[in-house]
Symmetry: C2
Subunit: 256 residues, 2 copies
Amino acid sequence: MKVVLLGSGNVSTHLGNALKTSGHEILQVWSRNLNNARELALKLNTTATDSYTAITSAAELYIISVSDDAISAIADNLQVKNKIAIHTSGTTGMEVLEKASDRIGVFYPLQTFSKAKPVDFITIPISVEGNTEEVKNILLKLGNQLSNKVIEMDSVQRRTLHVAAVIAGNFSNHLFTLAKQLLNNHQLDFDLIRPLIAETAAKIQTINPLEAQTGPAVRNDKKTIEKHLELLQNDFKLKQFYQLFTESIITTHNSP
Amino acid sequence: MKVVLLGSGNVSTHLGNALKTSGHEILQVWSRNLNNARELALKLNTTATDSYTAITSAAELYIISVSDDAISAIADNLQVKNKIAIHTSGTTGMEVLEKASDRIGVFYPLQTFSKAKPVDFITIPISVEGNTEEVKNILLKLGNQLSNKVIEMDSVQRRTLHVAAVIAGNFSNHLFTLAKQLLNNHQLDFDLIRPLIAETAAKIQTINPLEAQTGPAVRNDKKTIEKHLELLQNDFKLKQFYQLFTESIITTHNSP
């Protein structure tokens, strides 16, 4: 397909690369920041623009990959009536695209992207929604070229998936940050727990996290919990986290 | 070395295996539950007992690997004055072993063990403490046979390391459990976020978790945060987690 990318962030970058690798043609990169558009266009060997009126009408698919707040403004300025316009957001409803075209959809790749680190699209689940059977089928076909896990989902399910991803991905990364701060405050290196973090994630690839739970809370080991809270007594925030998790783990593992 | 294992749980099992593989001799397994002692003894091709008086005095090293609450009672009953007695707890001080012997120490492997899943000891950081230079050096030497990351640490540092491990390992696993429950409540499969969890852990093997942070909170994307909280409005617990993390991420990433 002939594609225009609107946005030049992490998702645009990785999706653009994956589409190009699969044989699709990236006609243009649009961004409100021309330098960013040019940078991505250079990587994808295509043209760049920051003007709505300069957006080519020669493409079949227009992909808006920008922060959630910015999607609707771009969609309102995009006039591609008979073409497919989609966004890649987990949380935004499909309907914000209605002014852009009659053929709209969502194509949400569930992964934590950073520009620096290459990702293997094939393992990334892609959630797809279309306002007509025709659009949906085109997006399913496109998804299956990039990933081996493409699922049709409505907006509520997609938003739920996004929240679950924020909890399991973003929040656990923040726990790593908090743990690193604690270690560094005691002249200990974050390297000490990197293998543990790798093993924790590896474990639940095959078993259920409920069975994988270890630690003082699931054992209801009050002595250890007390000693830990004592160590954290001057760290109000960490103590709050420790208590919330400990109570939640105890409740979760003791309810019938 | 000739070794007696006291305890038959996950740590005893994996440590016993690793010691045997490194050429050490496991003389005996003691557990207050004779069946458990026998089960582990069978795996290690050695003898089992549940009696304190039947513990052999022929070993050089006695390793207590039991829940933190049970260590001191076992140490008080263990009479091995001129032998080395150690425990493997991250949180318990070395001094609880004082009645067992004059040569005491701690040998704390930092990993999440489950009996079913084999672990590669070589990547597991081991924290070592001894009450004399001689004991400490023996434990450092032993540690270096099993792992490529052996560090001397005092009790406060070891406890801090344990708390950091609980936060980064046990607590993130609980986040996976909460995310799974949310997905299942909306007829979505946990498989959808397994790759994301793998990638989140893989990312911080090479970069700092502070730099790796993604998601609506670090972008301070209020619209998305609001939509997520709306989706969680009937789930008091998850909403509490979502708010605490979101506030903490915003604060962490906006402080000077």
